[in-house]
């Protein structure tokens, strides 16, 4: 009973959230101040200027079209043995046009056994979602995918 009520609460809250669009979230619309880090600045902050290689080992799953920019599912899977010697150190989820391009940094360990992370993010408008992956050997890998955001009611 408790779980059913909890889930009801989540569905109701999500329904409310779904009717709101994350206005002001795009870099060009956001008021100054607060967390404002452009995509290029964020990548530099993460990699320290080190080279990043687009890699097929990073599989990034996002919808091609997001009807609601407030809740966009993101799934990252990195091919890795996840051993002490060779594992995913961190998965950084970024967006290219939000005022704050950073969404989440996930520091994994061999206990995870898989280089996997999933979440849901806000997109202020059509842009790319990027998975920037740091491996235990210090190398950076990347996968990026565009998401079209349609804001507006039914149809």
């Amino acid at each position: 009973m408790k779980r059913r009520n909890f889930l009801k609460g989540i569905c109701a809250a999500s329904a409310v959230a779904a009717t709101m669009t994350p206005s002001g979230l795009l870099a060009k619309d956001a008021p100054k101040g607060g967390n404002v880090l452009s995509y290029d600045a964020a990548v530099k902050a993460i990699t320290g200027g080190k080279a990043v290689a687009d890699s097929a080992k990073v599989s990034l799953t996002v919808p091609e079209i997001a009807e609601n920019g407030a809740v966009v599912p993101v799934k990252v899977n990195v091919e890795s043995p996840m051993t002490e010697a060779d594992h995913v150190k961190a998965i950084h989820v970024l967006t290219t046009k939000n005022g704050n391009s950073r969404c989440a940094d996930v520091m994994l360990t061999p206990m995870n056994a898989k280089g996997y992370f999933a979440t849901r993010v806000k997109l202020g408008g059509t842009q790319d979602i990027v998975a920037l992956v740091e491996m235990s050997d210090g190398n950076f890998l990347r996968a990026a995918k565009p998401v079209k955001v349609t804001i507006g009611g039914c149809g």
Binding site: S14, A17, M20, A104, D105, M111, N112, T119
Partner: protein, 112 residues
């Protein structure tokens, strides 16, 4: 410590054995306000209020940590994997940018 927020840890699949790699899902009721929106009634900006740090531990040993920003959706969902070493307890400790601290635990009970 009593939990101030509603949250849930889910293991997928529900039934698993020692040595299996399962999904650990964590979902929490939290506004994740960006600080960019106005309260429609008062016209005042709703201050940024979002979860910023999460630590997943197994019997006190951290196995995943996360840094999170306000760009993650309201009532956020996070999912990672865990290879099951045996019986234990998974704990998710999380804080938000106001300094509010919360914790949720779930027993890990492998069959066989």
């Amino acid at each position: 410590m009593a939990e101030a927020r509603k949250s849930m840890i889910k293991f997928k699949p529900k039934k698993f054995k020692v040595g299996d790699t399962i999904k650990v899902d964590f979902i929490v009721i939290h506004p994740m306000d960006t600080g960019l929106k106005k309260n429609k009634k008062t016209g005042e900006i709703k201050p940024a209020h979002y979860i910023d740090n999460i630590t997943f531990s197994l019997d006190g040993k951290p196995f995943t940590t996360m840094k999170v920003w306000e760009t993650v959706s309201t009532n956020p969902y996070f999912s990672v994997n865990l290879k099951v070493p045996g019986k234990g307890k998974v704990t998710v400790d999380y804080t938000d940018n106001t300094g509010e601290k919360n914790s949720k635990s779930k027993k890990l009970k492998p069959k066989g």
